[in-house]
């Protein structure tokens, strides 16, 4: 479903003159998940935003289905579902309207909201929902029918309660079985299979603040 | 150190006409921690904001060292250290300036920042730090010398990496041994002792959306 999917070769990023990672290599194959790991400030979010083409100062190659960026970017975008730190939930709209904004029909949206445990909150303004409920509104997009094959999720488990985490893991597993692929970051262990774990510390530069002044 | 500390009797809160919890009772004794648990939207943050006196529409009594609110509020406030969802980090200031704003001297602030793994980032603007690093700036207040006895932390583990979580737990344990007390919420298990766990679901009203339409 993902074709030859996402391949990263010799990727390096720097911020503020500090190299975050270099020589990063991995392949995201159809039907597999990749979890990016690393300490706080290691550059996970930066990596993700690079991969979806939101940040363009990097060296190395990123290729989507064999086509290197920036040529492959448009194709990648059309099969991308991205949920970042900022969940993309409009706080002045209700959950239902939020999903409608992403093009969901009313019935599917109701189904999806029900699945993320927001039954009964469809018509409450999002600014009145709790932190975790807002996250769930964003995640409801994963439950819409015929989702895009490539899911890129930056800390999707943050703010979710235990039941919510289990439900999300189940949904990701279902997606992998369908042949989709998932790229995610998380500080907690994530229960999906098959899972490839990429630790940014392994691609760190010789000498980083993280390594030197490690957290006690 | 906490005297007779924080006692909650028959507390009930409602939001938008929906009862979040009622008949809530617990005591936060000196040298102990209380972890408030509950599903997303159960009312943990609301409870915490009620206890620190930021929200005043509740029924029941809250007492600090035997003095009921609102009379006991001032005394509670003077021994409170609160870190909420919004961490209280000013993004236009550097970590060092942020701590200075909370009244820390330069030397102590540097020490504290070092302890939360921000050595080398003292003079970077907070808006350039990662999500977890921002959280750490807020948490650095816990590492300043002579902290207030009552710590109230709303999801302090969110966005922290594994090392950060361990370090924070160690610090909380140290605080408890000193005779301080900690009230926190978290969706992850927290490794502090002695720990009393209060689940809001046990004090739920007869009939809530959460109970009825439970998350799968």
């Amino acid at each position: 479903m993902c074709g030859r999917s996402l391949a990263v070769r010799g990727l390096a990023c720097e911020r503020d003159g500090r190299v975050l990672f270099e020589g990063l290599e991995f392949t995201l194959a159809p039907g597999t998940a990749v979890q990016v790991e690393g300490a706080n400030g290691a550059g996970k979010s930066t990596l993700i935003r690079t991969l979806i083409g939101s940040v363009s100062d990097y060296s190395g190659t990123i290729a989507w289905r064999g086509q290197a960026y920036p040529r492959g970017l448009a194709a990648m975008r059309s099969s991308l579902l991205y949920i970042g730190h900022n969940a993309g939930v409009r706080r002045g709209l209700t959950p239902l309207e939020n999903l409608a904004w992403y093009g969901a029909g009313r019935k599917e949206a109701l189904r999806a909201l029900d699945e993320v445990g927001l039954y009964g909150f469809e018509d409450v303004l999002c600014q009145q929902l709790s932190a975790g409920q807002n996250r769930r509104v964003a995640l409801a997009r994963l439950y819409l029918p015929a989702p895009p094959p490539l899911w890129v999720l930056d800390e999707p488990l943050a703010a979710l309660d235990v039941v919510g985490v289990a439900s999300l893991e189940a949904q990701m597993n279902r997606h992998l079985q369908r042949g989709g692929c998932v790229l995610l970051t998380s500080h907690q262990p994530v229960n999906v299979a098959p899972l490839l774990r990429v630790n940014l510390a392994d691609f760190g530069p010789h000498f980083t603040a993280q390594e030197l002044y490690c957290v006690r | 150190m906490c005297g007779r500390s924080l006692a909650v009797r028959g507390l009930a809160c409602e939001r938008d006409g929906r009862v979040l919890f009622e008949g809530l009772e617990f005591t936060l004794a000196p040298g102990t921690a209380v972890q408030v648990e509950g599903a997303n939207g159960a009312g943990k943050s609301t409870l915490i904001r009620t206890l620190i006196g930021s929200v005043s529409d509740y029924s029941g009594t809250i007492a600090w060292r035997g003095q009921a609110y609102p009379r006991g509020l001032a005394a509670m406030r003077s021994s409170l250290l609160y870190i909420g969802h919004n961490a209280g980090v000013r993004r236009g200031l550097t970590p060092l300036e942020n701590l200075a704003w909370y009244g820390a001297g330069r030397k102590e602030a540097l020490r504290a920042l070092d302890e939360v793994g921000l050595y080398g980032f003292e003079d970077v603007l907070c808006q350039q730090l990662s999500a977890g690093q921002n959280r750490r700036v807020a948490l650095a207040r816990l590492y300043l010398p002579a902290p207030p006895p009552l710590w109230v932390l709303d999801e302090p583990l969110a966005a922290l990496d594994v090392v950060g979580v361990a370090s924070l737990e160690a610090q909380m344990n140290r605080h408890l041994q000193r005779g301080g007390c900690v009230l926190l919420t978290s969706h992850q298990p927290v490794n502090v002792a002695p720990l009393l766990r209060v689940n809001l679901a046990d004090f739920g009203p007869h009939f809530t959306a959460q109970e009825l339409y439970c998350v799968r």
Binding site: Y119, G120 | L212, Y213, C214
Partner: protein, 77 residues
């Protein structure tokens, strides 16, 4: 006290000041009537809305109970 105008037409005309006077009174009456009607209409709308809400709640309650029963049955198996 007596009626100040000769006939109805001159009452309407008011020596040429008619349009001003009648416009003022018209606007005033319209605003006053609106002040009365707005709460009444809103009450009526609320009543309807409320009854719909009760029906919806009832339906939800039933659906939720059904679902709970079903999951309990699944768990028992």
């Amino acid at each position: 006290m007596q009626f100040q105008f000769d006939d109805f037409a001159s009452f309407l005309a008011m020596n040429g000041h008619g349009p001003y006077v009648w416009f003022s009174y018209g606007v005033t009456i319209a605003v006053l009537v609106a002040l009365v009607l707005v709460p009444l209409l809103r009450q009526r709308k609320m009543r309807e809305q409320f009854q719909r809400q009760i029906r919806q709640e009832e339906a939800r309650r039933r659906a939720g109970a059904e679902r709970n029963a079903k999951s309990a049955a699944v768990a028992a198996e």
